[in-house]
Structures are given as structure tokens and as C-alpha cells.
């Protein structure tokens, strides 16, 4: 029998390595019609900010080759609404709950984490320093090692449970950011968030997105994300959560072999809401076929020449 459970440290233990990525599964409920949420390793719920955000104007989405651009812009009702109205609905879910936290200042991040402290079913926060679709903060924190570290140091002060940091791929050397947040006290890193891109409607001579640029996700960028996960997993000692263009179990295994301890399914939920549960079954079968008893046998198992 294969043991799929994975311990990312500091209290984030998951029954298997497959999570739903923030911003692609709402609060889990949207996918509950299609999958049994309790079969998942974890769910990273919608990016949550201190104050409610309306998000960006429409259009917010355009399809690209093997991918899509989005410009949602962290639409959410704010942390207080989450605490009062959403948490009570999802607290009983039998899966690890992670709250993705965004802000436009260090104080924002701290304030959101502070509001989440009483919610004992929240196993971890995922500090999002990589959203490409907000004017202030977001990605700007994730492209500078010292700013990234500053956010983590501050959040670490008041958040004692698992602290995951979501990294942006829009950098020259992602290992520098990963090391900076590790030294600042992060328990794990998740990567990658979306790639900054744009697309133009040539007949109208206008960008497809209201914000001109948006975040590119989907299978198209998987080779870049896998490379970054491979680099980062060798650069840090904390666990790496891999995401970026996973469309099936094979893709999930690719990230695990590259060095990820767990994976997140994102855009694929839009195409097949059952991708995550299919991936879990594939991983179990794969590990059996390759005589891998537990997750330590598959994480980073890629052989190099």
C-alpha cells in the first residue's frame, strides 16, 4: 500500500499531496458539485484581503495557446466577511484548509493574518506576494528579496501556524526570493503564480483585458514552472509546493519528481473540475507501479545525467 500523506511541517499535514490552487476553486464549495472535497489533500481558498475588493473591470479573461490570461484582481469580500460568513460554512470540511492572503502593504498582510488567528481549522496561510493583477503590493513584494522577507517577518510575528509563501515566476532568479523568505521564517513556498502577459484583439486594436496585462496560466507555462520548482527545491530546505499548468496526474508527478512535496491544481479546474481527484488516483497508481512506499520516495526523485 502507498502512503500518500505528506507533512509540510508546522502543523500542515495533508492526507495526500494534491491541493486546489487559490483563485481557481472559490471556497471549495463551487467544486463540491463535482468532487468530494474531503478526498483532497488541501484547499487554498480565494485570495483574501483586509478590505473588500470589487476586483478589476471586465473583460477579465482571454484564452491563449494552451493557456489563459486572467485579470480578476483579487475580488473578495474582505477578511471579516470571510471570518463571519464563509469560515463557518467550510470549517467542517475534512481537508486541510489554507487561506491565501494578499495585501497592498505589510500592515495589510499582518492585519489579515491577525483576523484569521481565532479560526483553528485554518492549518496555514499562503502569503501571496505574487498577484500580477493589483496596482499596489502584490507582485511588487515578490520580485524583491528584501520586501518579500519583510512581509514574511511581519506575518511570522503573529501567525504561529504553517506559513506558506506563494512566489511569482516573473523574476530573474527565483531561488533568491525563495531563500529570502526561508530565512525570514516561512515554513514552505508555493510556486509558481501566473506569468505577466497580454494579448491584443488585432481587429479592434485593443488589449483583450481591461487591465491590458494579466496573469498567464495553463499548460503553456508548465515547463517554466517545473524548472523553477526544480531550482528552488535544491536552493531551500523547506518544502516546495509545485503548481503551474498541471492538467493531469502525469503533470502532477512531473512536479513531484522535480522536487515538490505537494502540488496545486489551478486552471485545470476550469476545464475539468474533477482533475484533482483523478490526479490523486494517478499518483497512487504511479507510486505503486514504481514501488514508492511514501511521498519521500517520489519528491525530487528525478535522476540527472
Amino acid at each position: 500500500m502507498v502512503d500518500l500523506s505528506v507533512d509540510l511541517g508546522n502543523g500542515l499535514r495533508m492526507k495526500n499531496p494534491v491541493m486546489l490552487a487559490s483563485g481557481t476553486c472559490g471556497y471549495g464549495e463551487e467544486l463540491a458539485d463535482f468532487i468530494d472535497l474531503s478526498s483532497l489533500g488541501g484547499i487554498s481558498v480565494k485570495g483574501t484581503t483586509l478590505h473588500a475588493r470589487q476586483g478589476n473591470a471586465s473583460p477579465r479573461m482571454v484564452e491563449t495557446p494552451s493557456g489563459m490570461l486572467n485579470a480578476v484582481g483579487l475580488q473578495n469580500k474582505g477578511v471579516d466577511y470571510f471570518v463571519e460568513n464563509i469560515y463557518p460554512r467550510i470549517a467542517s470540511l475534512d481537508t486541510s484548509l489554507v487561506v491565501n492572503v494578499s495585501g497592498s502593504s505589510v500592515d495589510d498582510y499582518v492585519a489579515v493574518c491577525d483576523r484569521l488567528r481565532p479560526l483553528d481549522r485554518i492549518a496555514a496561510v499562503e502569503i501571496n506576494i505574487s498577484c500580477p493583477n493589483v496596482k499596489q503590493g502584490g507582485m511588487s513584494f515578490g520580485t524583491d528579496p528584501s520586501m518579500a522577507a519583510a512581509v514574511v517577518v511581519a506575518a511570522r510575528q503573529i501567525w504561529s501556524r504553517h506559513l506558506m509563501v506563494k512566489l511569482t515566476p516573473n523574476v530573474t532568479d527565483i531561488t533568491l526570493i525563495a531563500r529570502a523568505v526561508e530565512e525570514a521564517g516561512a515554513d514552505s513556498v508555493s510556486l509558481t503564480n501566473t506569468f505577466l502577459g497580454m494579448a491584443i484583439d488585432v481587429e479592434r486594436q485593443r488589449p483583450y483585458l481591461s487591465t491590458i496585462t494579466g496573469g498567464l496560466s495553463g499548460a503553456a507555462i508548465r515547463p517554466i514552472a517545473v524548472r523553477m520548482v526544480w531550482q528552488v527545491s535544491q536552493a531551500v530546505r523547506i518544502p516546495v509546493v509545485g503548481l503551474g499548468g498541471i492538467t493531469c496526474g502525469r503533470d502532477a508527478v512531473e512536479f513531484l519528481l522535480a522536487g515538490a512535496s505537494a502540488v496545486q491544481i489551478g486552471t485545470a479546474n476550469f476545464i475539468d473540475p474533477t482533475t484533482s481527484v483523478k490526479a490523486i488516483a494517478y499518483i497512487e497508481d504511479y507510486m505503486e507501479r514504481h514501488n514508492m512506499a511514501d511521498m519521500s520516495a517520489i519528491t525530487g526523485a528525478m535522476k540527472t545525467p
Binding site: 483563485g23 471586465s58 489563459m68 495553463g218 476550469f270
Partner: protein, 249 residues
């Protein structure tokens, strides 16, 4: 669920009617105005599913009326009969079926598709249904016979090749007719113009929106419409049909 395409009937050069049945089991209950998300099996340049409104459905069969708008919809219109399709359905909220009195269903182009099922349903509910269908030219007027069988049907064409010359918003039935409720589906400018007339005449009005969509299940927040009562809401989940009272048009 998986469907088998029984028939692909070209409607002119730019449209096709896909008739399909579930590979196993019965069709789920479907409300007029709901839509489906279709996976495109045979297009190299299509990544996401395509949202398509339901033209007609019963417990055995479903019709999708598809306009050739790009690689994805072209691939659907070119499907060989017998093809299998993975479809998520039914999605969204349909039209209000509690309306009574004189109900005018206003459609433009392929936007007439969901009005066929709506009209037939309202008739069974004893509602007096009239159709006002607009198109650029005669060949863009789809399923006209089916509409006429269902209720009184008026037509407008921009080139005057059939019916009243001009836009649906020029038609006296809309501007002066005795109407208690309007249900509208078509190009955005047309729906906004119809909504303006409805407002000015104090007639209740529903429209079916088509905002760019990724997931269709309320997860991605890409297709939002700004509402009076709740700000940005997902068209795929709260809509696609909205009463214009909720919209900031």
C-alpha cells in the same frame, strides 16, 4: 456528462444545430436560459470549454445552436455525426417562468436560440407569447418555422430582405405594443437598447448575458457583471439571465 452527437445540421454557412443524447442515462432537468460548457475535442487552438446556451432539451435529447465564431465553435460545427462530447450541464439560472400576461421574447442573431425553449415552456404555462426576432439578413434568421409554430412571430432584418426593415428596437411591437414582460437575448448593444425601451416604458425585462467565461461554475470570477445590489457577480452562476433592475445599464 458524455453526449453522443446524433446529427449536425448546418444552418446557412455560419451556424449549425447539434442534436445530441446522453451516452448513458437521462438528460438532467433543464430550465430555459440555462447553458452548458462543452469541451472541444478536435481543435488544436482551443484550451477552455465553450459556453453555449441550450436551444432545446427534454429528458432524452438536447439541441445546441452554434455560431461559427472561432476555432472552437468551428470545430463543433464540423463534428462528424456520432462524435462524443464531454459537457458540463445544466449551468446558471434561466428565465423567470412566473411571468404572466403579454410576454415578448426578443432575440437577435444566434441569441434567439434559448428563446425557442423559453417560448415553448411559457406557452405550456398558458402565457401569451410573441416573438420578435432580428437579424442582419434573412439567412441569419434561424429556426423561423419552429418559432412560428410556437407563437406569433415578427421579424426584422437590417437589409429589409424579410419582415420589418431595421432593428428590433425600431419595431412597433416593441416600441408601442401592449407588453407586460420582455425576455431578451442577443448582441450586447441590442440588449442594452431593448433594456432602455423597457425602462422608458416601465416594462419588466430580462436579458441573457454572454460575458467572457472560463469555468462556468463560479470558480474563476472572470465573467462578472456589476450589479446594483451585490456589485460584481458571476454571470455563469447568478445569470446568465438577469432582470435589468439588477444591472447598471
Amino acid at each position: 456528462m458524455d453526449f453522443k452527437v446524433r446529427e449536425v445540421v448546418p444552418h446557412g454557412r455560419n451556424y449549425a444545430l447539434l442534436r445530441m443524447m446522453p451516452v448513458k442515462g437521462e438528460m438532467p432537468e433543464v430550465e430555459p436560459g440555462q447553458f452548458v460548457q462543452v469541451e472541444i475535442p478536435n481543435s488544436k487552438s482551443t484550451y477552455l470549454r465553450r459556453p453555449i446556451s441550450i436551444n432545446w432539451a427534454d429528458r432524452r435529447e438536447m439541441w445546441l445552436l452554434v455560431r461559427r465564431a472561432g476555432a472552437g465553435t468551428n470545430a463543433l460545427c464540423d463534428l462528424p455525426e456520432g462524435s462524443r462530447l464531454s459537457i458540463i450541464l445544466p449551468l446558471g439560472r434561466g428565465f423567470d417562468l412566473s411571468v404572466r400576461g403579454n410576454v415578448l421574447l426578443v432575440g437577435g442573431g444566434v441569441g434567439t436560440a434559448p428563446l425557442l425553449m423559453l417560448g415553448k415552456r411559457l406557452v405550456t404555462l398558458g402565457v401569451d407569447v410573441k416573438f420578435l426576432l432580428g437579424a442582419r439578413t434573412t439567412s441569419d434568421l434561424l429556426q423561423l418555422e419552429l418559432f412560428k409554430q410556437t407563437g406569433e412571430t415578427r421579424v426584422t432584418t437590417e437589409d429589409g430582405s424579410m419582415g420589418h426593415r431595421g432593428l428590433v428596437t425600431d419595431h412597433p411591437l416593441l416600441t408601442d405594443g401592449e407588453i407586460d414582460h420582455i425576455a431578451c437575448c442577443g448582441p450586447l448593444p441590442m440588449m442594452k437598447a431593448v433594456a432602455a425601451i423597457a425602462r422608458s416604458r416601465g416594462i419588466s425585462c430580462e436579458v441573457s448575458l454572454e460575458n467572457m467565461m472560463a469555468c462556468g461554475i463560479g470558480a474563476c470570477l472572470c465573467c462578472v457583471e456589476d450589479t446594483v445590489d451585490a456589485g460584481n457577480v458571476c454571470v455563469c452562476k447568478e445569470g446568465p439571465v438577469f432582470n435589468i433592475k439588477r444591472l447598471k445599464w
